[in-house]
């Protein structure tokens, strides 16, 4: 673990993600199938995310949070501007390279967990490894390791629909980590959870950031959850309203966020 941290320390200065004038438009079609209007969801965002940062993205519903996360996760492509992943222009990447990056370098955690009910918890956790052609032995060992780390070993043979929300999210986090990715993208990971389970999940994410040195980008609308982040990007109408940095005091940062929320 220390070796990993050391390795990450060396990379610390490099940007994991960099957005230059990032734009995402959607075309809305009328009932007659004709192009009705263009919706500008993201209107030219500029920011960079460095290694080991825990970045929160906040904003009102419809401000483009999830759209931005999809672009950062290479689930979707931008319609303008540039996005660099580890200094590679994503525009130059092929579809299957996106898949490779998603599989090896990014871990996803979603609000609705996005687990497969057809598979057991164990199989769900090791799915990224299986898709990466890793041996069965390695898959089993790694899944066991993360299950132990997040206290879900007793659930390994269950199906996701047999679990509580908090348990499901811990399974999703284990799955996100199993390929040891550089970046974790979390889309409102506590959105579907009660406050207790939400606390467990945010602490887990915070732990992953601090102890494992993973870069995390988390979309949230909860100021309390956002206060755990080292940095917070506030979005308003597809533009960055404010890029806030967390000082030492989490409570002060929380109050600062609450203050800024009035402007959203």
């Amino acid at each position: 673990m220390n070796e990993k941290l050391e390795k990450n320390e060396n990379k610390k200065t490099a940007d994991v993600l960099r957005a230059e004038n990032l734009v995402r438009d959607y075309v809305q079609y009328g009932e007659d199938g004709e192009k009705k209007k263009e919706i500008h969801v993201l209107k030219g965002l500029n920011f960079s995310i460095q290694r080991q940062e825990f970045v929160g993205i906040m904003g009102r519903s419809g401000c483009g949070k999830t759209t931005l996360l999809k672009l950062l996760g290479m689930i979707d492509r931008q319609t303008g501007g540039k996005l660099f992943f580890e200094e590679h222009d994503t525009e130059d990447l092929w579809k299957d390279e996106f898949a490779d990056i998603r599989r090896r370098k990014i871990g996803f955690v979603f609000q609705d967990f996005y687990l497969m009910d057809s598979l057991s918890v164990r199989e769900n956790i090791m799915l990224p490894k299986i898709l990466d052609k890793k041996s069965a032995k390695e898959c089993m060992e790694e899944s066991q390791k993360y299950a132990e780390q997040f206290g879900i070993t007793h659930l390994m043979n269950k199906k996701p629909y047999e679990l509580s929300g908090g348990e499901k999210q811990r399974v999703a986090i284990s799955r996100a980590l199993i390929n040891n990715p550089d970046l974790i993208l979390a889309d409102e990971p506590t959105g579907n959870l009660d406050s207790k389970s939400g606390d467990v999940v945010i602490h887990t994410l915070s732990h992953i950031n601090r102890e494992l040195g993973k870069t995390i980008v988390m979309v949230t609308h909860d100021p309390k959850m956002a206060s755990y982040c080292s940095r917070l990007i506030l979005l308003k109408d597809g533009m960055i309203l404010e890029d806030m940095r967390n000082g030492v005091d989490q409570e002060a940062f929380y109050q600062e966020i609450l203050g800024k929320m009035k402007e959203l």
């Binding site: 009932e31 090896r104 497969m116 057809s118 199989e123 299986i130 898709l131 052609k133």
Partner: protein, 892 residues
């Protein structure tokens, strides 16, 4: 570059010299070339003589046409070749010497155009192509002459290519380099060594098992489609022994009977598999989305999906073969038990398996392609919401859409009332398409109208929101159900019921023997009278041939080989024949002495669809020629030889025997005065071109032929039948020429054979179409089951939600039932309306009497009632089951 070009020109020039100098023509036993032919012409001082001795073996005088013009044209052509040869020789010398003479190409080009015009003149003049058995202008000549222009074209292309060679060569190299670079880059960037572990396949298998319920619908639809197709093809093969395939071009017999059934099975299979595949793909998209998000390569996603489908389809196909084989055996046993004399095969050959597999593979491929459109949002790997995506209700064009589709539907129905398109499956498909578009737009208009009144909108929202949410799917299902109901109640009911109510086959043939004789047959007719004690009626006739007896659409100037041969008689003969069969003739036939107006007696029974006597024209204006089919007439002037007549009236009756069921041998009635004029037309009509010729020029079997001029109708005691059969064979031998135009038009017809064949045809039609009725009934019920079962999980969620919102149980159940029953009630009502229209049109076209209509309604009514009882029972059962499943565990 220039040197390369020069060398190429030299090689091409040498090849051309070989072509020009090659002695390919046989002139009085010696092989000669173009130059030698010109010399021969100059020596003989006659183009025609040279041509005659070279290409016609000196028989030009015996030919019915003048070869002088052709010979002169050909000589001009050869002379032009000689000129071109000289130019080519100069060009070759210039190339060898390295000189450049630019104007040579221009001269050559002019010569080439002139030569091409001459060659085209020869090639396009059809009258020069043949005269009887002799080819006046052998096609190999045209072929040889065409070599030079083609060669010149190739040379031009080669010159052009050479000029662009360097540039394009560089481009090709660049492209190759880029491709290579791209491949290397691809290999490097997408390097993904190793094999997937067993866990990967385990995951796919687990996922497949989890979705088995959804997949099972797809499996069942492929299984059913394959089984039905297998049975259809199997039955076609089984019956082929007793009722031959016939000539497919004629559109008769087994091919015609099978065509409609198979088209319907294929279309319904396609629709069924597509609809289920769309549903399955939507369901699978959510899981595919997880795989994609987690970084599964697109290839791997695709192959996992294809592998799953292929394996499932293969199992479904094999199962279908087993089930289909068992059903075929059951049908075979049942048919043999009821009709022991029938010649039916019990085995199924490998061809049936193969063709079923091929057809089902094509259907699945189409379905896969069509269902693929839902992957439009595939650009994004996030497909979590694909399965619940709302479907649009048509927008501003709905009024125009409804109007246009309604109008088109009316036009299609109008066309349906024409004999030309009577009971056409393609037209019916067109009608269904119009109906679909109409319903799609009308439905949208109704829903939008409701939105204008908020009260009404909100009141109907609980029961209609699913129609709004899944509008396109709803309309598709409704249309499919209508299609099935209409096919059952109309299209296939007509085929089965009309054969059941048709007159008995014995009554269709009032005469034991019908001979189409001429003046040379007096002896054999006398023999029939004397030796077989036959009671013979002889009626004067002419051959009345229509220009096109095929259902294909021909070009206006195409020569149609299958022409409609009918029997032309006079009005008085018509009255005589009517009297003989005990029917009352029409008082006035409104015929004229110029033969422009005709009256038609369609000789067919109630079980056969109405056919026109001429497929060339719509409505009541056939192109009708007096005489046997012509194959050498000028098609550009077809109306001269096949003048347009007007049908002033028609009836459906079997006056001499419905031997060809309205396809051929209908009776064309002319006014007596006109008939007197045309009865000897054979003496002055060219047998090949239809041109009028003088009596002095007419030579029997050279340019004229005596077509059937006497309709001999004979009845005789049964004990003389064998003898009469022998005489009929002898008669047919003498009329081999008359039978040579069309394999289905004979010079003799016998009651026994025709009745047997018709009986067989009826059995086959009833069995085949009855089978399709059963298939459609099963599919209609299954389709409803599949639809409801597929949507059950969503329905359950929806009504649980309604329950939590406080909707009471009674109201809930009522809406739940409505959601299912609308797919039975709406299609049933529309199908009944369409059936009334369709049946009315068919009755009119088939000339049904009131008694026939009554019999039809009684017989078909039983069928319809059984069908609707089955639909109703299925609906009730489904409603109960589904309501129980949804309401189970509801908080009450």
């Amino acid at each position: 570059m220039e040197e390369k070009k020069r060398r190429m020109n030299i090689i091409l020039g040498i090849i051309l010299q070989i072509y020009f100098l090659f002695p390919w023509m046989n002139i009085t036993g010696e092989r000669k070339n173009f130059i030698m032919y010109v010399i021969a012409v100059l020596r003989n001082h006659s183009c025609a003589d040279t041509y005659n001795t070279t290409f016609l073996d000196g028989v030009a005088d015996a030919l019915p046409l003048d070869i002088h013009t052709l010979a002169k044209t050909f000589t001009v052509c050869v002379m032009l070749y000689v000129v071109l040869e000289v130019i080519e020789t100069i060009r070759l010398i210039c190339n060898i010497k390295g000189w450049e003479i630019k104007f040579l190409s221009i001269i050559e080009l002019i010569g080439l155009f002139a030569m091409l015009s001459v060659v085209a003149e020869i090639g396009l003049n059809s009258s020069w192509s043949s005269a009887g058995t002799i080819q006046v202008f052998p096609m190999y000549l045209l072929g040889y002459l065409a070599v030079f222009p083609i060669w010149t074209g190739i040379r031009l292309l080669m010159h052009k290519s050479m000029e662009e060679w360097e540039e394009s060569g560089e481009q090709i190299l660049k492209t190759q380099e880029n491709d290579k670079h791209y491949k290397q880059e691809r290999k490097r960037r997408l390097y993904f060594p190793g094999k997937y572990s067993k866990l990967y396949y385990h995951v796919l298998w687990e996922n497949f098992k989890y979705h088995w319920r959804d997949f099972s619908f797809l499996f069942v639809s492929v299984l059913l489609s394959a089984a039905f197709l297998f049975i259809g093809f199997g039955m076609r093969e089984a019956f082929s022994g007793s009722y031959g395939y016939d000539n497919e071009l004629l559109g008769l017999g087994l091919t015609e009977i099978m065509k409609d059934c198979l088209i319907v099975i294929v279309l319904i299979s396609l629709f069924l598999i597509t609809v289920v595949m769309v549903f399955y793909r939507k369901k699978r998209m959510a899981d595919d989305g997880i795989f994609r998000t987690l970084g599964m390569r697109s290839n791997a996603v695709f192959w996992s999906w294809i592998g799953e489908l292929l394996a499932g389809f293969a199992v479904a196909l094999v199962t279908a073969f087993v089930i289909g084989r068992a059903i075929l055996f059951g049908i075979y046993a049942a048919v043999i038990q009821h009709f022991p004399k029938i010649d039916m095969k019990s085995e199924v050959s490998w061809k049936v398996y193969l063709i079923t597999a091929i057809v089902i593979a094509v259907i699945c491929l189409f379905a896969f392609g069509i269902s693929g459109d839902i992957h439009a949002g595939e650009r994004s790997a996030d497909a979590r919401n694909a399965a619940v995506k709302s479907e649009k209700i048509p927008g501003i064009c709905r009024k125009a859409g409804a109007l246009i589709s309604g109008l088109l539907g009316v036009i299609v129905l109008y066309l349906y009332t024409q004999r030309r398109f009577s009971e056409s499956i393609f037209l019916l498909c067109g009608f269904f398409l119009c109906l679909y578009v109409f319903l799609y737009n009308i439905g949208a208009m109704i829903l939008r109208k409701k939105e204008t009144s908020m009260d009404q909108y909100l009141r109907t929202l609980p029961e209609e929101h699913m129609i709004r949410h899944r509008y396109q799917t709803t309309v598709k299902y409704l249309t499919l159900m209508i299609v099935i109901h209409v096919c059952v109640m109309s299209f296939f009911s007509v085929k089965v019921v009309s054969n059941r109510i048709a007159d008995k086959t014995d009554t269709l043939y009032p005469y034991d023997y019908v001979w189409l004789a001429n003046s040379n047959d007096t002896g054999i007719i006398e023999k029939l009278k004397q030796e077989c004690k036959a009671e013979v009626t002889s009626i004067p006739m002419v051959r009345a041939t229509t220009i096109d007896n095929t259902e294909r659409l021909e070009g206006p100037f195409d020569l149609v080989w299958q022409q409609g041969q009918n029997i032309g008689i006079s009005e008085s003969s018509y009255r005589k024949l009517k009297k003989a069969v005990g029917e009352k003739p029409k008082k006035h036939l409104n015929l004229d002495k110029n033969g422009k107006k005709i009256y038609v007696v369609y000789q067919q029974d109630q079980g056969t669809k109405a056919k026109p006597i001429d497929h060339y024209q719509l409505m009541i204006h056939p192109n009708l020629h007096i005489g046997q089919p012509l194959f050498g007439f000028d098609t550009m002037e077809h109306q001269t030889y096949y003048p347009v007549r007007t049908i002033t009236g028609s009836e459906t009756s079997s006056l001499i025997g419905a031997f060809k069921q309205g396809k051929y041998e209908n009776l064309i009635v002319f006014a007596d005065a006109y008939f007197d004029k045309i009865k000897d037309y054979w003496k002055t009509t060219d047998m090949s071109t239809g041109e009028k010729i003088k009596t002095s020029d007419a030579v029997l079997e050279e340019n004229i032929h005596e077509w059937p001029t006497k309709l001999v109708l004979a009845n005789l005691p049964e004990k003389y039948q064998k003898k009469a059969d022998q005489l009929t064979i002898d008669f047919a031998k003498q009329h081999a020429y008359d039978e040579s135009f069309d394999s289905l038009v004979k010079s003799t017809y016998t009651k026994t054979e025709a009745a047997k064949k018709r009986q067989m045809e009826r059995i086959l039609e009833c069995v085949m179409n009855g089978f399709v009725l059963i298939i459609l009934s099963v599919i209609s019920m299954l389709l409803l089951h599949m639809k409801v079962q597929m949507e059950l999980p969503d329905m359950r969620k929806r009504y649980q939600f309604m329950n939590r919102l406080g909707m009471n149980r009674r109201e809930r159940i009522c809406i739940e039932k409505k959601e299912i029953s609308r797919f039975v009630t709406i299609p049933s009502v529309i199908a009944v309306i369409v059936t009334v229209l369709y049946s009315g049109i068919v009755f009119g076209l088939r000339d049904y009497h009131l008694n026939d209509v009554k019999n039809y309604v009684i017989n078909a009514g039983v069928l319809w009632i059984i069908y609707f009882i089955l639909q109703w029972l299925n609906l009730k059962w489904l409603e109960d089951t589904i309501v129980k499943k949804i309401e189970k565990g509801a908080d009450l």
